[in-house]
Structures are given as structure tokens and as C-alpha cells.
């Protein structure tokens, strides 16, 4: 049982860090603001939740995991809201989503998506 929990939590931690890393690379490499916010906020939600869940599994029942769950709830609420606010503010300030009319269509997909979120 202990071992299973450990393995599960390690798995969560590793996957969480992987997603965070993906998000970080995306944040650095994507061409414009909206694609960046797309990569950052999506992977952020998943990665942060996975890492926190992994830690909860390590902590067991008690005040510690209650606090972790609090952080989880909070980051889910606040993170998404903050990225929404950022995207909205950027759009309002006249920042145009990156239009890929010269390049192929496949990389244009994610570029136009985040403006909906």
C-alpha cells in the first residue's frame, strides 16, 4: 500500500514537472503573446494540480494535505482567472492574435484558439 502510494505520487510529481517544463518551453518559444498564454496557462493548471496531488499523496491525511488542497483550489481559481484577465486586457489594448496567413494552417490553429478562453 505504502509502495503503491509512493509510486503513484512519484508518477504525479514527474508528470507534473514534465507538464510545467513543457509550459515553460512553450512560454519561451512560442511566437506571440496569445500562443504563449495558451501554453503557459494550460500546462500550468495541469502541472500544478499534478504536483500538488503528488504532494497530497505523500502527506497523507491531516492539516498538511488540507492546506495543499486549499492551494490547489486556489490556484485553479486564481490561475485561470488571472490568465483570462490577462488575455482580455491584452486583446482590449489592441494586441492582435498572431495571424499565420503566410505559414501553413496547422500551426495557425493554436494561435487563434486562446483568444476564446
Amino acid at each position: 500500500m505504502e509502495l503503491a502510494l509512493d509510486i503513484l505520487s512519484w508518477f504525479c510529481l514527474v508528470m507534473g514537472s514534465f507538464f510545467c517544463l513543457t509550459g515553460g518551453v512553450g512560454l519561451l518559444r512560442f511566437p506571440d503573446f496569445f500562443t504563449r498564454i495558451h501554453s503557459a496557462s494550460l500546462t500550468d493548471t495541469l502541472g500544478a494540480s499534478l504536483i500538488l496531488i503528488g504532494l497530497v499523496l505523500q502527506a497523507g491525511w491531516g492539516i498538511v494535505s488540507a492546506k495543499l488542497v486549499l492551494i490547489l483550489i486556489f490556484s485553479l481559481l486564481a490561475g485561470t482567472t488571472a490568465s483570462h484577465a490577462m488575455a482580455k486586457a491584452a486583446l482590449k489594448s489592441g494586441l492582435e492574435p498572431h495571424k499565420n496567413d503566410k505559414k501553413e494552417e496547422s500551426s495557425g490553429g493554436p494561435a487563434s484558439k486562446p483568444s476564446l478562453t
Binding site: 486556489f74 481559481l77 486564481a78 482567472t81 483570462h84 484577465a85 482580455k88
Partner: protein, 315 residues
Amino acid sequence: MTAIAVLRMRDLFAVVMLSGIYSLLSASLFLDLDAVDVAFTEAAVGAGISTLLMLASLKLVGRFENKSRYRPGLALGIVLVTGALLVYGTLDMPHFGLAEAPVHLHVAPRYINDSMAEIGVPNIVTSILASYRGYDTLGETLVIFTAGIGVMSLLLVSRQTKEEYYKKVPADMQQQIILRVVVKILLPLILLFALYVQFHGDYGPGGGFQAGVIFAAGIILYTMLFGLGNSQRLFKRRTMELLTATGVLIYAGVGVACMFMGGNFLDYSVLRHDPVHGQHLGILLVELGVGITVAAVMIVIFFKFTWRTVKHRYK
């Protein structure tokens, strides 16, 4: 990790954002160095309040540094010489993390070994802060109070401007619905958490200073989203100004009460029959005083800055 700071002297606005990052980083460094309470304070103060204040004043003075006329030569020379001297001075210092360093040999062992018996509070930082060095903390609270008064008197705003604002405000506040809903959900949590930090300070990291700042941050969040008008209706100017003084008065009053009960100033042991209980009560009250003052001063300062921007906008 700290080398980040080097890169921070670029352009003006981004500097404020980066200083936010900088204080986040320095707080994690504090945590790494076992200074939990300090990390707590730095997190709440450096990353939150000071960034917001910087932003508010940038709003007032314009965000671009219009000239980049530096005098690098002379300044760099002075800096390098001073730095070299300081590094030379460190050569005699005790090594990092050494338990036999002179700092750890004087009063610290007494605090660590005896505070549990004398004060009965597991968090040594709290017991030193509120009890052993109570005078000191009273002084700090007074400094904060004085700074609050200073800002108040420097950034006065006439009632006329405020009425002007109230007349115009309903027009530009009907946006950001999602944000407002989420903040409505989160705000009670934030305030509750501030209270938790306030009263849990005896057992874990936390205490009056941190709780005050968090509380103020919550109120500032509310102000930013729901407008000055609403929050001024909730937190009247007079009330806040009275509260800043009330905190200090509670602190000093506890001290005077100790004197009346036959002890020294700020000697809480006499407050109850059992000295340890007395210490508990005293620390709780004193931290409450600190919390009230800090929260009220931060809120007042923020309000003043924001009113100032309002004044500029409607002039």
C-alpha cells in the same frame, strides 16, 4: 539564484515587475535559510504591497524614464572600490552555516532553550518578537504608524475631488464580471486566512505583521475591482485613521496594564496568575495591536495613492 538582480537595471517599468520577481526569489531563499517568518513577511510585503504601491506611484509620475543619462564611470569606480573593501572585510567572518559562530553563542541559546518554559509558545520568533524584545516591536509599530501619518499628510485629497469621483464613477465600473465573481468567492477566504495567520502565529509562522499585510492585500484587491467608492463606504476614512492609532494604543495599553498589575512595562507574566498564561494573553493582545496598525496603515496608504490618481484623472 540571486544573480537575477544584476539584470534588473534595464528600463523603468519592467523594473517594477522584475522587482516583484526579485522579492519572490528572495523569499524562497529566506525559506531555504530557515527563516520561515521572514519568508512569510517578504512574500506578503515585497511581492504584494510594495509592487502595488510602486505601480500606483508609477501611474502618478509616468512610467518612462525619459533620459538615460547615467554617470557610469565614477559610480562604477566607487561601487567597485567599496565592494572590494567589503569583500576584504568578509575574509575574517565566520563561515556560512557554522554552529560555533559568535552570533549563536550569546543570547540565542537562551531563547531557544528557555523560551518554551518561560513563554510557552512554540514559535520562538513570535516569543522574541512580542515578549523578549517587546520594546523594540513597539518602536517598530510606532514607526509604521508615523509613516502612515506622513503619507496621509503628504497626499491629502480634497473632499471636492472625492465628490466629483462619486458622481462620475458608476459609468466605468461595469466590466470584468468574471474577475469580480471570482474575487467575491476568494475574498472571504483571504480575510479568513489573514485571521488564521494572526492567531496561529504562536504555533506556526505568522503573526501580526504578516496578518496585517495579508488583510490589507485582500482589501486592496477588493478596492481594485469594486472601485474606491464601494470600499470607502465600507472602510470609512475616519475609522481607518482611528484604527491605525488603536493598534498602537492596544500595544502600549497592554504595557501600561502590566505596570498596573505590578510588573514592568510590557512584562506580561503578571496579567494572569500563571505567568505562562499571562505571556500567552499578552502576546496575543500585542500581536493583535500590531496587526490592526499594520493593516490599517497599509490600507490608508493605498487609498491615499489611489485617490491621488483619481485626482489626476479628473483634474
